[in-house]
């Protein structure tokens, strides 16, 4: 891509929620960092001028959960293919869960992922460290070494911790090193063989149900543990109104807990399963309209402070089977921004708040200096046209996985340019 070392993005609407900026303002970049906003420093002559007339200029998006499938499942996707998809979607920072093969429970695997991502050079990839060795929920992983190797957060991926005692110890040990733990709240035994929300639609389709209590029982247990241990945890992907109520109470009690929601949970419900649509097979399952509305409200309030893609690219075969036998997940990088901004057009929240949930919100959860455009910060930038409507065609997706339930949906925001540390990593071809 372009090797300009200094860039001015001009005539755009700069939205930087961390700094309360939402106004027409230019952005000047030099040596990979934000040099100034507004008028350029005296004598500044950029190598490249990007005209952002009619467009929004915001910090590069931060995605708390995206599976890149490498190492181990390169037939689904690779770090290179998914970094390119991220760049095309305005996402500059990606956290990937430790459930690769091999698992990220040694520094070597973490380093491999980081090295591959640097080679691709299109997105900042942060591997999460495994909370327990082999994600088996039995022994602690070497968290200090993993932190050294660049793992900022620990997680057991979507695999549950069977023993509450092991969970307690893992949380305590992580706290020693100031590491936040990402937990996917799900009680394995209540989940049983379930593959759909335990509700009217699942009942009609005869799909084994996952009750709301599978989430709330786990949330209650995790909250009780942080009250005891003073650990700091993050709930990855809440799906129920009941869990949101528990989160609100926990915030009142000032527990150190944050939460995110997957973008698809803000738009789809159990109703979308009709006809056994395997692209709607996700974990946690799509729930009721009431749950969806509670998630939207919590996001608008800031009780849930991040939206993430929960990107799970699959090869076509993975979705070509009877519903319960299909692999769960959506190839979701490219719909993260459009789905979040759809909430703006649907009146759920103003644009600055929506962008905050994709930038400074997740950045704070990670404790990283990304997701904001302070002078001197690394220049990760996303430029998008908020008024260009387009229709999602799975065949045109940049991700190697084309599994999406949003095929044919019309969106009104399109990324036109992405900068990673001051380097143009994506520019929309037809402009």
């Amino acid at each position: 891509m372009t090797n300009a070392s200094s860039i001015s993005i001009q005539n755009g609407r700069l939205v930087d929620p961390a700094n309360g900026i939402d106004e027409p303002r230019d952005l000047h970049i030099a040596a990979g960092k934000v040099l100034a906003t507004g008028s350029p420093p005296e004598g500044f002559q950029p190598d490249l001028r990007i005209d952002a007339s009619g467009q929004v200029v915001c910090p590069g998006l931060v995605d708390l959960c995206a599976r890149l499938r490498e190492p181990g499942e390169e037939h689904k996707a690779t770090i290179a293919s998914e970094s390119a998809a991220a760049a095309g979607a305005g996402i500059t920072t990606l956290c990937c869960p430790p459930d690769t093969d091999p698992i990220v429970d040694t520094p070597a695997v973490a380093e491999l992922i980081r090295r591959k991502a640097l080679q691709a050079g299109l997105a900042r990839v942060l591997p999460m460290g495994a909370l327990t060795r082999g994600l088996k929920g039995e022994q602690l992983s070497e968290m200090a070494a993993l932190k050294q190797a660049g793992c900022h957060v620990m997680s057991n991926g979507a695999r549950p911790l069977h023993s509450t005692l092991v969970e307690r110890r893992a949380l305590e040990y992580a706290t020693t090193f100031g590491l936040t733990c990402f937990l996917n709240p799900e009680d394995l035994s209540l989940r049983d063989q379930g593959c759909a929300h335990e509700g009217a639609v699942g009942c009609r389709l005869g799909l084994p149900g996952i009750p709301v209590a599978a989430e709330t029982v786990a949330v209650a247990r995790d909250l009780a543990l942080i009250e005891q241990t003073r650990a700091s945890i993050h709930f990855r992907g809440l799906s129920t109104a009941a869990a949101v109520r528990m989160l609100r109470r926990a915030h009142k009690e000032q527990l150190r807990v944050t939460a995110d929601v997957s973008a698809h949970q803000l738009h789809l419900t159990e109703m979308d399963l009709d006809g056994f649509n395997s692209n709607c097979h996700v974990e946690p399952p799509l729930r009721s309209l009431t749950d969806r509305d509670a998630l939207r409200q919590a996001l608008a309030d800031g009780v849930i402070s991040a939206v993430c893609s929960d990107h799970q690219p699959h090869e076509p075969d993975a979705k070509q089977a009877p519903f319960p036998a299909t692999a769960p997940g959506i190839s979701a990088l490219e719909t993260l921004l459009p789905l979040t901004l759809k909430l703006v057009s649907e009146g759920v929240m103003p644009m600055a708040d929506a962008l905050a949930r994709l930038t400074i919100g997740p950045a704070r959860i990670l404790g990283l200096e990304v997701g904001r455009l302070n002078v001197g910060n690394t220049a990760d930038v996303c430029v998008f046209d908020p008024n260009r409507t387009w229709r999602l065609d799975p065949e045109k997706m940049l991700s190697q996985g084309h599994n999406t339930p949003f095929a044919g949906w019309e969106f009104s925001a399109r990324v036109t340019c992405t900068l990673l540390a001051g380097r143009v990593v994506y520019r929309q071809p037809d402009r």
Partner: protein, 334 residues
Amino acid sequence: MARRDIQLDEEGRLRHFLTIEGLDQPLLTEILDKAEGFIGVSQQAIKKVPLCRGKIITNLFFETSTRTRTTFELAAKRLSADVLSLNISTSATTKGETLLDTLRNLEAMHCDMFVVRHADSGAAHFIAQHSAPHVSVINAGDGRHAHPTQAMLDMLTIRRIKGEFVKLRVAIVGDILNSRVARSQIHALNTLGTSEVRVIAPYTLLPAESRSLGVHVYHDLQEGIRDVDVVIMLRLQRERMRGAMLPSEHEYFQLYGLTEQRLRAAKPDVIVMHPGPINRGVEMDSQVADGPRSVILQQVSHGIAVRMAVMSMCIGTQNARIARREASVSGLNP
């Protein structure tokens, strides 16, 4: 459903038979009327009609079954079709060949109809969505979702004995949660205008939203069968004890087992049905199963007629399609 029903062709004729849901009363009545006509075929000296001559019907059973497979086989043979029966254990497919590969292979052999039984809900829909346009799919039971031919043979049995559905009160007793038969029966009974459909079971054997199916829920057998015209007993799988859904067969029979004594609460001319095979002494005692109110064996023979009806209707839709295409090729139909 807003989506066009994949079970029907452009003219609303039956193309696949996957679930009762989405089919209207005239169509269900047409199936019953047609089946009624086929009952006579079994009593003829030559038990065959030529409606599916030259067609290949393949039974694809991914889950074992004797009764259902046999009646489908017999039905196809009485329609003069050539029949293949394949028992494909699920382990064979996990060894490498995907379900789609299996389908493609069979399509290449020019099969005209798949009769499918599978342990996963939605399997028949999946196969219908992915098979060639000249293939019809009949659901012979998918997971917990649907078993529409079983439901229709039950409807035929009820109609032949009771006549109208509108005046009837029907109770379904047992494992509603795991039963594809119950789901299809409930849809069929409601579509045919049954005055009241009840389900009777402990909470562990009921779906969380069972009322949304359009039924009245009872937990007490005695209360639930009061004044009903039809009692349908469901088979209880032994696995339910292991899954902590029930304490024992003994207690289940004590609470939900049908006996002559308990049956007195129902209408005097009540009929008792069971999709089979019966666990005597668990769902009902032998006195009821073999008693005058039991119509269990009639259900079995109606099974052949209903399956003949559905198969011949789907093949008829295909023939119409072929005729249309040939007409347009020869220029008769622009």
